[in-house]
């Protein structure tokens, strides 16, 4: 086994064994963290690999979550496979349309315009009745995973949804690693490094960015769907700018443009939040200070710390 896989696989084994502890509260918390990790991975495709700092990624997360809520009848379960497909396609379409507009801008303007579009999505769900307004909407019955009479898993059981989310996280991670090695992914990294040169070399840069924006939106929609399925509830806060900022913070904290960074960031931010809010009422102050310290002393994020530790343990200069 390649040595650089030892640490990730051990971590994966630990996470996989965790529900055996029987601590339901923490199993549910970890499920939520893994959903946020999928969301953060999708954003990092833009921030860390394409150089597009989006401050409105929660819009597509919210579209995925609301898709499940709206497709779930009051007294019956939605079909998982069909509703999941619709949620992902809806989020991708929204990202495609938003992307056509926001990708005309760059830098600080891109940040502001993505934020503005996400606020529009927020107010659509907040101020109209079709998603339940500001109260949100319940998903009374968890989506039904049966295919042709066979039911592979039951999302009503916390342990089962935990493993489903873990499997999705691993698949999304592997998928993104594959994409980043492909010609498309290499071109995105070239665009991040030097957009003008990529254009001079013959790449239709805007089309590549739009494809990345759409793909990231689709994956955010997948994460949003899982959140709605797990919590059984959606409200406009899922699309709020706090949520966009939260996931951006996870990416930056973990290390943008590193393979594991967004996952590490999702765990770190949520755990710091849990820890400080359990010991003090003034947790926001301490959480803020912790974030500032991490960013100040580890500018590459926690993901780089992982890399540095691994390098000092195993030697070599292999990135990862």
């Amino acid at each position: 086994m390649p040595r650089h896989l030892i640490a990730p696989l051990c971590t994966l084994a630990l996470i996989a064994a965790f529900p055996l502890s029987g601590a339901t509260f923490y199993v549910e918390l970890t499920t939520k963290i893994m959903i946020m990790a999928i969301f953060a991975l999708s954003l990092d495709l833009l921030v860390g690999w394409t150089g597009l700092v989006s401050f409105g990624h929660a819009a597509f997360f919210g579209v995925g979550a609301y898709a499940l809520a709206l497709l779930s009848p009051k007294a019956a379960a939605a079909g998982l496979w069909s509703s999941l497909g619709i949620a992902i396609v809806a989020a991708a379409l929204c990202a495609l349309v938003v992307g056509i507009f926001v990708l005309r801008t760059r830098g600080i303007y891109f940040i502001m315009v993505t934020l503005a579009f996400a606020q529009m999505f927020y107010f659509v769900f907040h101020d109209t009745d079709f998603g339940g307004g500001s109260d949100g909407r319940y998903v009374n019955l968890k989506p039904d995973a049966s295919i042709l009479g066979f039911t592979p898993f039951d999302l009503d059981k916390p342990n089962q949804i935990y493993y489903v989310v873990l499997a999705v996280l691993v698949l999304v991670f592997a998928f993104l690693q594959m994409v980043l090695r492909s010609p498309f992914g290499r071109a995105l990294q070239g665009i991040k490094a030097n957009e003008q040169r990529m254009r001079a070399l013959g790449y239709p840069v805007t089309a590549y960015k739009l494809a990345a924006f759409t793909l990231a939106g689709a994956l955010a929609g997948l994460a949003g769907y899982l959140l709605a399925a797990q919590s059984g509830f959606v409200n406009p806060e899922i699309l709020s700018w706090h949520q966009s900022g939260n996931v951006l913070l996870m990416v930056i904290l973990g290390g943008a443009g590193t393979p594991y960074g967004p996952i590490v960031g999702a765990f770190a931010l949520t755990m710091l939040h849990e820890f400080f809010s359990s010991v003090t009422r003034h947790w926001q102050l301490f959480l803020g200070a912790a974030i500032v310290l991490i960013v100040l002393f580890m500018p590459g994020g926690l993901g780089h710390l992982v890399r540095r530790i691994r390098r000092s343990l195993f030697g070599g200069t292999r990135d990862g």
Binding site: G185, R197, A200, Y203
Partner: protein
């Protein structure tokens, strides 16, 4: 005379009140090395940027093998076969030398939907990239990080990347600037070899190199073409001598 590959006419670009390029006419032919001379600020880089698409002309026409391209974005012009290098080194410093050239080569066969393919193992773009690096004399530095190369080597990489896109027209903005004598000699040799199969526009300050290489020389002053013709004609031209030497004249 053969049909020009790239034919610019009446090419004008204004920046506010300044006319950086004033109805310039220029034709590049396959098999010819066309050098562009002129003092600083004459509009040479503006002209290259207009031909490559990095700048849009205020007016005028550019034809590539008969097709009007003046309104085309730079990426489309590149895909048609117009490659350019930059005066200020413009590479991907964090990537390896090989990846720089490989990305350039990949643009000819982009396959964005082949998501399961490992790009670095694609034999077509790999061969193209290595050929470009070989021609530019960087084959021994393939695995080095581009940002760690010497200035001269980065200039070579700049050329290698253009070559990896296998263009018909080469727009080279001061490729010899900052090169040591040995690298410079090598580059002059390379340009000589490339001239037979390409149409080349070369902006260069090194007069020895220009007169040794060029089939045609165009001299620009203040955004306008002062004179254009074979090296012997330019060397003998009173106009050119005045522009270059006659600082005390009425030219202020």
């Amino acid at each position: 005379m053969a049909e020009p590959v790239l034919d610019a006419r009446g090419l004008t670009r204004r920046f506010g009140g300044l006319t950086a390029c004033d109805s310039v006419a220029l034709a590049l032919e396959r098999g010819q090395l066309h050098a562009l001379l002129g003092p600083n600020g004459a509009g040479k880089s503006t002209l290259i940027n207009l031909l490559s698409g990095d700048l849009k002309p205020t007016s005028g026409s550019i034809r590539f093998k008969g097709t009007e391209i003046a309104a085309m974005p730079p990426d489309r012009r590149s895909r048609l076969g117009i490659g350019r290098s930059y005066q200020k080194t413009n590479i991907f410093p964090a990537f390896t030398v090989f990846e720089n050239a490989r990305l350039a080569a990949q643009s000819r066969d982009p396959r964005p939907f082949a998501l399961a393919t490992d790009a670095s193992r694609d034999p077509v773009s790999r061969d193209r990239a290595l050929r470009g690096l070989e021609l530019a004399g960087l084959h021994e530095h393939v695995e080095r990080q581009a940002g760690a190369l010497s200035h001269g080597e980065q200039r070579q990489l700049e050329i290698a990347m253009v070559l990896a896109t296998e263009p018909e027209v080469l727009l080279l903005d001061e490729p010899l600037a900052g090169m040591g004598p040995e690298e410079s000699t090598r580059m002059v040799g390379l340009l000589k070899r490339l001239a037979s199969g390409h149409a080349i526009l070369l902006v260069e300050h090194d007069m020895d190199a220009v007169f040794a290489l060029a089939d045609v020389i165009t001299v620009m002053v203040n955004g306008q073409v002062l004179e254009s013709g074979p090296p012997a004609q330019i060397r003998a031209s009173a106009n050119v001598q005045r522009a270059y030497l006659g600082h005390e004249d009425e030219h202020g």
